[in-house]
Amino acid sequence: MNRALALHLSVIAALGAAFFVLPVYHAGNLARIMVLAIYAMGFNLAFGYTGLLSLGHALFFGAGMYGLSLSMQHLGTPLLPAMAIALIAAAVVTAVVGALALRTKGVAFMIVTLMFAQAGYLTALYFSRWTRGEEGFVLPQHLRQFAGVDLSSAMGRYYAALFLFAVTLLLIGAIVRAPFGRSLIAIRENEARATMLGYDVQRLKWLALVISGTISGLAGATYALLFGYAGASFAAVPYSILPLLYVLLGGAGTTLGPLVGAAFMIYLFDLSADITDAYMLIAGVVLVLLTMFLPQGILGTLRKRALPWLP
């Protein structure tokens, strides 16, 4: 077994044990952190590994969230099919948006993805008869059961989140070690060179984006399922900024950076919410400081300075 896999498994094991060690409040936080880490890991595949700065990932998160919650709430779909619908919805939306947006690069790509995300958010508002708009709707507890486990209970929620987090982490770990993942990194490092080595850069970027968006959709569906709520604010632009923040802080292009960044920021927000309503102010300050002084993030800097084998 290589060091990267060992590290990933250790983290998963540690998280598995943590539930019994931590107080209930922190365990609840950790469940939320893990789900948002899934979101950030999806984003990281596009941004950290392929170099695609998208401001539209809230659209993909929202597609998964609404895909699951709308089918469960209004169509009475059982859990597993609803999850499948969510993943398919996210994949399809990403595939279409990606095909269009990837015709652009850099700043234009950023603006195009932003526009699509905004359009998605507005669409969620437009159909508020079903989505209940900003107010959102609650997924009743009786729907959130799986194989006899009550997913709304502290333990059910935690281990469901951990399971999906583990699956995603190991998947990402496998992707970035494989030739496909290495070619994404090559595209990020020098796109022209990658093309002139024979790599089909457009197709690879699109594939990366589709996987990235589907993972983000998984996070959205999981969030709705485990926390029992779906609302338009999760599809709004600030929600596209959050994974960027987590990834930058934790370390773009590292597998565990998203988890580190999410944990850090959520606790930072939590602490500052006691002081002021304006917790996004902290987000702003952190973003500015990060990009000025620590552009590689925590794990990225660690990897560069001390641990080159860090995945």
Binding site: P179, R182, S183, I185, A186, E189, N190, A192, R193, A194, T195, M196, L197, G198, Y199, D200, V201
Partner: protein, 235 residues
């Protein structure tokens, strides 16, 4: 007469009224080492850009190994067996030397053995773990050539490969190039000693069109070529 690996007919590039390349007919036999020379602005890089697909031709066809590749995007042409080094060195500076070569080898179906082989051939084995961006300019250029080797190309196009290299590195380069088997080489060069000592055949471009073609001795004696370089040749 050896089979032609590369052939162009009427290859032309026009930029908003300016003809960068005009009606170039070019034939490159398999296994040959061909040099493409000409004064600055003659259109050499544009021509080569159209060959490998980085620049879209306005008119004309490009045939590779009997196949019409005029409509193929760059990465597909590369995948058919062409390697290309940029005029300004283009590698992956944030990745290790080993990974740079690995990326090239993997795409062309090579493996670990290919990478070690190439690193040994270009003399970068003990730098394998180093970050490519930390290499000296000369070593980066050699790395890029090594990446070309790793692709085991049928046709290797090099755009001014010795530019910026020290004398010893230029000598190394000459040895590397002449030591290749089963590879056709197309070399854009300004360094005349490299051209005269490695090339079997030379094509001279001037003002975007072919001025002369011949063996090194023939070209050396060609009055038109001399005049073009001295700037007294008419278009």
């Amino acid at each position: 007469m050896a089979a032609l690996i590369l052939q162009t007919k009427g290859l032309t590039k026009t930029y908003a009224g300016v003809q960068a390349n005009t009606d170039i007919d070019f034939a490159l036999p398999q296994g040959q080492i061909r040099a493409l020379i000409g004064p600055n602005g003659a259109g050499k890089s544009t021509f080569v850009g159209m060959l490998c697909g980085r620049i879209e031709a306005t008119r004309g066809t490009v045939m590779f190994d009997g196949q019409d590749i005029s409509r193929l995007p760059a990465h597909r042409r590369i995948a058919l067996g062409i390697a290309y080094t940029f005029q300004i060195t283009s590698i992956f500076p944030g990745l290790s030397v080993h990974e740079n070569v690995g990326l090239a080898a993997r795409r062309a179906g090579g493996n670990e053995a290919t990478v070690s082989d190439v690193l040994a051939r270009v003399g970068l084995t003990d730098r394998a773990g180093q970050s490519a961006g930390d290499l000296s300019y000369g070593h980066q250029r050699i790395l890029e050539i090594g990446m070309g080797f790793a692709q085991k190309p049928r046709l290797f196009i090099l755009d001014e490969p010795t530019q910026g290299l020290a004398e010893s590195e230029v000598a190394e380069f000459k040895a590397l190039i002449t030591g290749l088997e089963n590879t056709t080489i197309l070399l854009i060069e300004h360094n005349m000693s490299v051209v005269m000592e490695t090339a079997e055949f030379i094509t001279v471009l001037n003002h975007g069109a072919v001025l002369a073609e011949g063996t090194p001795d023939e070209i050396r004696a060609n009055a038109h070529v001399q005049a073009a370089y001295l700037g007294t040749e008419d278009a």
